[in-house]
Amino acid sequence: MNLRSKVFKFTWKVSYGVLSGILWYLLYVYIIPGLLAAVGLPFEEAPEFFMFLLAFFIALQTSASLLENLVYRFLLNSLTKTLGLWLLFSLLNDGILSTSRSAEGITVNMTIDLTPILFLLASWTFTTILLDLVGSMSKPYL
């Protein structure tokens, strides 16, 4: 492999890592909560410090993309997804959403338990991790 193709391969892997890091971050921090908010559920927006975690997602996915070792790659991919799930859980307050309104001496508090949705999202995340594990153990994939 000449230098040019090596540089191309490296650039491709870095770009893939950066893009997949951004995608996983957007999915867990904005897209899934955004879809649930579109239904009309009262969610708070992601706090500003969550933006710093974007760098962490990009670093994890870029490392996973550059590494040749399947075990390390699997571990980094799993870490990205688990971190995303953890952020999502904290954004959705572990599935317990509360909202409060006050007007003319009347206070209304409403609490909704959304844990079934979180169970589904956790199942999806861990199933994709399992899929990665199967992929790491059997080459070619499936």
Binding site: V39, G40, G105, T107, N109, T111, L114, G135
Partner: protein, 131 residues
């Protein structure tokens, strides 16, 4: 192949997610479009010279069933409760209580708590306090 399996799996979960979220979306939409989808009406009549009879009518016009429905209304120390296994469209529950007239006149705080499980999936609790 890996990408195909991932997409197929994600679509399957998205389908389940849509089915899971649909009752919640339907309930919220109905509540927004018609504020009297779920309502509590109250009234009172003079029972005798010493007591008044308070009555509460809880009604529901939504399409999503409300399971394990439990409503409690506190008037000071007195509690009125209305329960049913499932509250469905067009159904009303009436609860009555007798309150001494003097106590009814001096009431300063009224509290209501409504608990139900939306479509048997989402437990919801609504607490209303008037002071």
């Amino acid at each position: 192949m890996r990408g195909f399996v991932f997409v197929a799996l994600s679509l399957a979960f998205l389908g389940i997610g849509t089915i899971l979220v649909a009752p919640m979306a339907q309930f919220i939409y109905e509540e927004y479009s018609n504020p009297r989808t779920f309502y509590i009406d109250s009234g009172y009549t003079q029972h005798n010279s010493t007591h008044v009879e308070l009555s509460f009518t809880i009604g529901y016009n939504g399409t999503v069933p409300l399971d394990d429905f439990d409503a409690k209304i506190w008037f000071g120390e007195n509690v009125a409760e209305a329960k049913t296994a499932t509250l469905t469209r067009g159904q009303t529950i009436v609860s009555k209580m007798l309150l001494p007239t003097a106590e009814a006149e001096s009431l300063s705080t009224v509290k209501a708590r409504v608990k139900f499980v939306l479509a048997g999936i989402y437990p919801i609790e609504i607490l209303v306090t008037q002071s």
